[in-house]
């Protein structure tokens, strides 16, 4: 642990390059955000518009799922380098979450 931080000073070109890359990434995040707002709008409008519940429920759930994927993969960088184990455990967690919810909505009230 003693030797794990050696300081690496980047060349100006390297530095400019990463900076540009980051700025681009940030624009991507802005777009992601716009999509999330848009999805939320759709969800709320659908409900207020009063379509049939059979139509709305699957769609709003799908929209929520998309939003979550956006959050996890873009804002939280879950696809980034060094996130292999992270993704694995998050998926395990989601799996357990899923069966828990499935069980309690199906086999509690008979």
């Amino acid at each position: 642990m003693a030797h794990d931080t050696h300081i690496h000073v980047r060349s100006q070109a390297e530095f400019e390059y990463t900076k540009k890359k980051r700025a681009e990434e940030m624009r991507g995040h802005l777009a992601t955000f716009a999509i999330m707002i848009f999805l939320t709008l759709i969800a709320f409008t659908m409900v207020t518009a009063g379509f049939s519940a059979y139509l709305i429920v699957p769609i709003v759930l799908l929209l929520a799922a998309i939003q979550v994927v956006l959050q996890l993969y873009y804002f939280m960088h879950m696809s980034g380098k060094g996130h292999g184990m992270v993704a694995f455990f998050m998926f395990c967690g989601m799996f357990v979450a899923f069966i828990t919810i499935l069980a309690l909505v199906t086999i509690v009230w008979w």
Partner: protein, 627 residues
Amino acid sequence: MSSIAQKKGFGATIWDFMTTVDHKKIAILYLISGGIFFLIGGLEAMLIRVQLAKAGNDFLSAGTYNEIITMHGTTMIFLAAMPILLAFMNAIMPLQIGARDVAFPFLNSLGFWLFFFGGIFLNLSWFMGGAPDAGWTNYASLALASEGKGIDFYSLGLTISGFGTLIAGINFLVTIINMRAPGMTYMRMPLFTWTTFVASALILLAFPPLTVGLFFMVFDRMFDANFFAVEMGGNTIIWEHLFWIFGHPEVYILILPAFGIFSEIFAIFSRKRLFGYTALVFATILIGFYGFMVWAHHMFTVGLGPTANAVFALATMIIAVPTGIKIFNWLLTIWGGNISFSVPMIYAVAFIPSFVAGGVTGVMQAIAPLDYQLHDSYFIVAHFHYVIVGGVVLAILAGTHLYWPKMFGTMLSEKLGKWTFWFFFIGFHLTFFIQHFLGLMGMPRRVYTFGADQGWDLFNAISSVGALFMAIGVIILLVNVVLTSIKNERVGNDPWGDGRTLEWAIASPPPFYNFAQTPLVRGLDSVWIEKMDGNKKGMIFAEPLGDIHMPNGSIIPFVISLGMFIASFGALYFLDGDKPWALAVLIIGLGITFGSMLLRSLKDDLGFHITKAELLEDAKGGNTDGH
């Protein structure tokens, strides 16, 4: 017990342990407190068996009996078996992967103290108006109706110790993911490390539902919430689901590390590489995975409907396959080996038929329609003691003998060890084998007495005699520990002579900084590889000798946990009205906890360095504890 104890005064030793963040010392703390809880749980088991020794016995009253079985189950599972396994994980796993310490030494200590205070809190219920009495499963309708504070002790105590366990689980996972020595790929990790990994993953994902369930329980009982209050629309089956979503993975949290310990033992004492290492690893992962999909097999009689019952029955049966893979790979490991029957190996060998017997009754229970008969009968009690005592407890006893030299630098007596084994093993089968038939003969579990007219007298009496044998075995073990510590004959790195993994390449007990130089791992069973290559040291190094960075000890984890402990008493009583002090206690307790957390985050604690010179000095003097 160790050399440190003799050099320092008693007070200083205590302080040392209270502030330690060293995984090896924390392991000792886990072992001692888990051991004491095991004795308490065992004592409760003896009381159960005395009460049931004859029909119509009135040794214990009905209410007391329910408290005792509840505390027996809870203590054994949460406060004895799991912590003792955590002790071995702490002591051995970082050494096996060649790490300097665990990923979060501070949290490691916090995890221990939370478990410890949670356990003490739970057991104090005996002296403060009655222990919990709704069974270790604490089913909601009974728990809500239970008078007194017992159930609140249960909920709060398990919440606290549960947080401790969760922290330990995260800590081990990160350690294994990040801190492996160079060359220690996942598929070169010793099996005990693998099982630690999977068990920790189960802890990570199984404890949250329990915590949530316990919160509901607290809210329902103390704040008039209605999660389980039927007349207010609540539903008690929710508790059953949450409990078992936790509860079934929990039994694999117990058995997987036990499998790990036995895997090490089979290889060492057969002097042979584990047969089908890859299969063993994947079987471990599969068991962990399936473990989450079968919980409703504890609820076959609840009335979930035939579809749910059939699905869960089939899912449960599947677990027999990976478990069988393990059993047969172990058999093939000893097959063609050169078996030395030292005490750990005797346990390992005895484990196989015992556990298989328990496992196959598990599969019988998985047959849902048959389980309608077996459920909540003594057949179940027989099943789970066969897997737990025949699996987990045998592993704990084996591990205690196997790793005692590594933890304390001296060997437990082989002779007394064999006496313990025979008493315990015979007693175990005597106690529990016959309980299968009691169950089939119609005896329900959790009955404080039974009438003489039902034909269960003889078998119960035999069962109680068996328990006595087990107690004698345990007492011999205690004698063994005391005598060994008095004699204190020091041993070298590899006292069993056939060590295969990294923990056997380091001094017993290891210096507080573990490996002075991080080892380089060249394959599975790295020490064995080096030995076969004629490298006497048992390892080669991945780095030159240099300064080592170490974390400082800290009393803060202790204080944080103490604060929670104090606050729990306040939480227990502050709604009572007649106890105005309770609110103050609650606030003071929380104040201590949050204050010390704040202190921790404000004060930078950057640790210290051991210099190369000191390390060289150490190596020369053979001084192992670094002081």
